[in-house]
């Protein structure tokens, strides 16, 4: 274990580390743009210049540790050079923070305030370039804001391996450009480059000009897109900034989804499907309990369900693998003895969706198959001719195959024709309205938090199961 000195303080390093890694690990912040722990060292931004006694300035990200080396991260020379590097970076940068989505979470902005603070030394016209360059149906590129750290090109070469991006031309007119015949649109991880971009050069079309980031807050959650169960941040409006007029649905809608770094599951990445959770969660909701399509109060619907269960001799349940660990356990605890239960696959791969790869995407497109399988049987026929009651929890049921004589209790979150056909329909909450845990295919348990309040007539499945377990009042 080599010992090195950073700003005079002795720290232990391991031989394969760079000075930047050692410094960051030990609480000495060294600013950087191009370096990223999951990508190769590019060493092109020159922001992490540090001084080494006897050797002068060099970049920390590419500097191997040497026993006894004396590194200074804040010497006068280092400060002067940092300031100059920022002068160079902002020379042709448009500094259009006022209309830039990245403002508020922009590394360049932060560093400018921390290490430069001066106006540009140049009064000459800036080099102009393309704005809103169409990289894919998801991503726009602003070449003027780009600082050519090449994180995005390295990501597509080293992580997603789509090889979709490269650099065109040279000097101060070089541009990030898509590579011929390698469409970024076919890279299911493409949106990670938006997070990787330290400035506002790579823009999400979905999020473009949708909100200033300081009006938003992230809630930790888990992506339900497949059994990988990547941890994510669901960004939504801060309650203190709720809109009082205009379209108030914006207050409880998902503004964007970003990865929540998690070495055990997904590292710092997620796939594009995880960015599009609004497509799943913001479908029209079912909020009204019904008996054969007739709206009824919650208590009446629950009563009816209880009576059906009480009268049934051969009840069957199809359990949702979108239920949280808590909900699945609650079902097992309260109704496991009553029903003959089977796990249902709520979601199957969609047309054109990548089914599986060796980075994150898994073939089972449901978040909690592992826990559901642990508690309930998966295979075998669920029902027989004598089945007289079927409880369907969640989506993905082939209703045509349910025995025609069987009565139906249906728990669903979204508007669907079957809701009105069910003998009892109970609207249940979705993932963003409750907290819980999912178990991924590796057995890793991750927690998600509630982002929004649910409507008054919507029930939590866990409460429904508990309530159904209590004997029915009266007789059918």
């Amino acid at each position: 274990m080599p010992e090195i000195f950073i700003n005079g303080q002795s720290v232990q390093a391991s031989e394969d580390q760079t000075v930047l890694q050692v410094a960051l690990e030990n609480g000495f912040f060294v600013p950087y743009f191009c370096w990223h722990p999951q990508l190769s060292v590019a060493g092109n931004c020159r922001m992490c210049l540090v001084e080494v006694e006897g050797r002068g300035l060099d970049i920390a990200c590419n500097m191997p540790v040497n026993t006894g080396m004396k590194v200074f991260t804040d010497s006068e020379d280092v400060k002067a050079h940092r300031k100059a590097i920022l002068q160079f970076i902002t020379l042709n940068h448009p500094v259009d923070c006022g209309i830039c989505d990245k403002a508020g979470e922009c590394t360049l902005q932060d560093y400018h305030y921390a290490y430069n603070g001066d106006a540009s030394l140049s009064r000459d016209a800036k080099v102009t370039s393309t704005k809103f360059y169409n990289l894919s149906n998801r991503i726009l590129l602003d070449n003027e804001r780009c600082i050519l750290c090449l994180r995005c090109t390295r990501f597509t070469h080293e992580v997603s391996k789509s090889m979709a991006l490269g650099v065109e031309r040279r000097g101060d007119v070089s541009n990030i450009r898509p590579v011929e015949d390698r469409p970024l649109a076919e890279d299911p991880y493409s949106d990670n480059i938006i997070d990787l971009c330290p400035v506002g050069a790579l823009l999400s079309r979905q999020f473009l000009h949708k909100s200033r980031v300081w009006y938003l807050q992230p809630t930790p959650s888990v992506c339900p897109g497949c059994e990988r169960g990547c941890t994510i941040q669901v960004w939504h409006r801060k309650p203190e900034w709720y809109l009082q007029s205009l379209d108030q649905r914006q207050n409880t809608s998902i503004a964007r989804v970003t990865p929540l770094e998690n070495p055990a599951v997904n590292g710092p990445w997620i796939c594009n499907k995880g960015r599009d959770l609004a497509r799943i969660f913001e479908r029209t909701r079912a909020e009204q309990p019904m008996l054969k399509g007739r709206p009824v109060p919650v208590a009446e619907a629950l009563d009816a369900a209880r009576r059906l269960i009480g009268a049934s001799r051969h009840p069957v349940a199809l359990v949702s693998n979108w239920g949280s660990n808590e909900e699945l356990e609650a079902f097992k605890r309260h109704l496991g003895e009553v029903f003959h239960s089977r796990v249902k696959r709520d979601w199957l791969p969609e047309e054109g969706e990548r089914v599986e790869d060796d980075l994150l995407i898994r073939p089972d497109k449901n978040p909690n198959s592992a826990k559901a399988r642990e508690l309930f049987d998966e295979g075998g026929p669920a029902w027989h001719d004598g089945t007289d009651l079927v409880l369907v929890w969640g989506e993905g049921c082939d209703f045509a195959r349910i025995p025609p004589k069987a009565r139906l209790i249906f728990l669903n979150s979204y508007l669907a024709p079957e809701n009105g056909h069910a003998d009892v329909f109970l609207p249940i909450s979705i993932q963003t309205e409750r907290a819980g845990h999912y178990t991924n295919f590796q057995g890793v348990v991750s927690r998600f938090e509630a982002c929004f309040p649910k409507a008054g007539s919507v029930l939590d499945a866990e409460a429904v199961f508990k309530s159904l377990a209590t004997p029915a009042r009266g007789h059918p």
Partner: protein
């Protein structure tokens, strides 16, 4: 003749580049000697003892570069001749490639044998047409004669060569940028460490040497390190090829024994300044080296140590002679336009700094200079120096400060009067 000649010492004719004439001059005897009488380590020792310095610009000792290669480390090694001669004012490698290509090939064979190289490369700049054809012809001749391929001259040593044409980037002349280009990538220079002699082409130990540096190896092996050291000065052994351009009567490529008096060279060999004018300054070795005034060089010899003492360098040997009456502001504009155009754009200071300098000098030349511009040029040069991945950023700064240091008054005059003191003149005034 400015001293002894090791590379150019024969009359150039229409056929003097051929294998037959090269052999008639004693060519490929050194290869024979190396393969039959010497071990690879002996050759490395000999080249190290010769004190041969790199001729590409940095004058790094060739032997020291070679010593990093571990002969039997179980991995392939590569040797690359850097023929991407792009430094403005430099055209000496071109002379070798056109007129004596076999000396390069013989030297590369000896070097490959010394460094345990199975495959060697020549990276030649794409703009070189005749040099490429001559070199390609020479490679064909050498293969036919059994110098390349399996079992060179019946020995256990086998070697193949690839001539690769660049696509036109100054930065591809930087060793690691060259390697990136040779690998089929954009010629972005690489961060060191690792050094190229540890991980270079295809991540294997690689030696990249300038064409002229390599071309000396055959002579050194043929005649011995001691004989080589007897040429030139103790700190600058051997000869150098200078490509002289600018306001002299007889521009061209000259082989000069190091230590030769500079003024004598200019006056006798290069025929003095055109029209009998006075010497203003000299760019000694490509525009990346700092200019020296006529007074600076009056008592200097063409030797590394003399140039280093004077605060400049022999660089790549691209000597540009500038007569009195030349506008240094316009000259700097030409130089800075070049660096701006050639910056690869990989790292921040050079990408923006070269363009910034270019815009400032363009503005000064357009008569819109501002008093703070000179300080700004110094500022950009200062923070480009040592902060970039390769030397291009540094070089742009050196070229700029070199001229500013010596001719600041011309810039101040231009900015104040919005016109050149010398009418923006870059031609030699023949009227005097």
């Amino acid at each position: 003749m400015p001293g002894r000649q090791l590379i150019m010492g024969f009359p150039v004719t229409a056929t003097s580049h051929s294998l037959a004439e090269y052999r008639a001059r004693g060519g490929y005897a050194a290869l024979d000697k190396a393969l039959r009488q010497m071990q690879p380590a002996d050759i490395v020792k000999e080249v190290t003892a010769s004190g041969l310095q790199g001729r590409g610009g940095a004058a790094f000792p060739v032997g020291r570069k070679w010593q990093v290669i571990v002969h039997d480390d179980g991995q392939p090694h590569y040797l690359i001749a850097n023929a991407d001669e792009g430094e403005p004012g430099t055209f000496k490698d071109r002379w070798i490639l056109e007129n004596n290509p076999h000396v390069l090939l013989e030297s590369m064979l000896i070097s490959s044998y010394a460094l345990n190289v199975r495959n060697c490369f020549v990276y030649i700049r794409g703009e070189f047409d005749l040099p490429y054809r001559r070199l390609a012809g020479a490679v064909e001749e050498a293969y036919a004669a059994g110098f390349f391929g399996q079992h060179v001259l019946g020995s256990q040593f086998s070697c193949d060569i690839v001539v690769y044409r660049g696509a036109g980037a100054y930065v591809a002349g930087e060793a690691s940028g060259l390697i990136a280009s040779l690998e089929g990538k954009k010629s972005y220079p690489r961060n060191r460490p690792p050094r190229l002699t540890v991980r270079g082409l295809y991540q294997r130990p690689t030696v990249v040497n300038n064409v002229e540096s390599l071309s000396n190896v055959a002579w050194i092996i043929g005649n011995g390190a001691a004989a080589f050291k007897a040429v030139g000065t103790p700190k600058s052994p051997g000869t150098r090829l200078f490509s002289v351009s600018g306001h002299v009567n007889r521009p061209g490529v000259f082989e000069v024994e190091l230590g030769y008096p500079w003024m004598k060279f200019l006056e006798e060999d290069c025929g003095g300044i055109q029209g009998g004018g006075a010497l203003k300054c000299v760019v000694p070795g490509g525009v990346s080296s700092k200019v020296l005034t006529g007074a600076d060089i009056a008592n200097l010899r063409l030797a590394h140590e003399d140039l280093w003492d004077a605060g400049s360098t022999l660089g790549s040997g691209g000597m540009i002679v500038i007569a009195e009456g030349t506008c240094m502001v316009s000259l700097l504009q030409v130089i800075l336009r070049f660096y701006h155009h050639e910056s690869c754009g990989q790292c921040t200071p050079c990408r923006h700094g070269t363009g910034w300098m270019h815009r400032i000098i363009d503005r000064i030349v357009a008569g819109e200079g501002r008093p703070e511009d000179i300080e700004r040029l110094y500022y950009i040069s200062k923070f480009n120096d040592g902060t970039t991945i390769c030397g291009l950023g540094d070089a742009a700064g050196y070229a700029c400060t070199g001229i500013l240091d010596k001719y600041r008054d011309e810039f101040e005059y231009y900015i104040e009067h919005k016109r050149s003191r010398h009418d923006g003149n870059l031609e030699c005034l023949r009227s005097s």
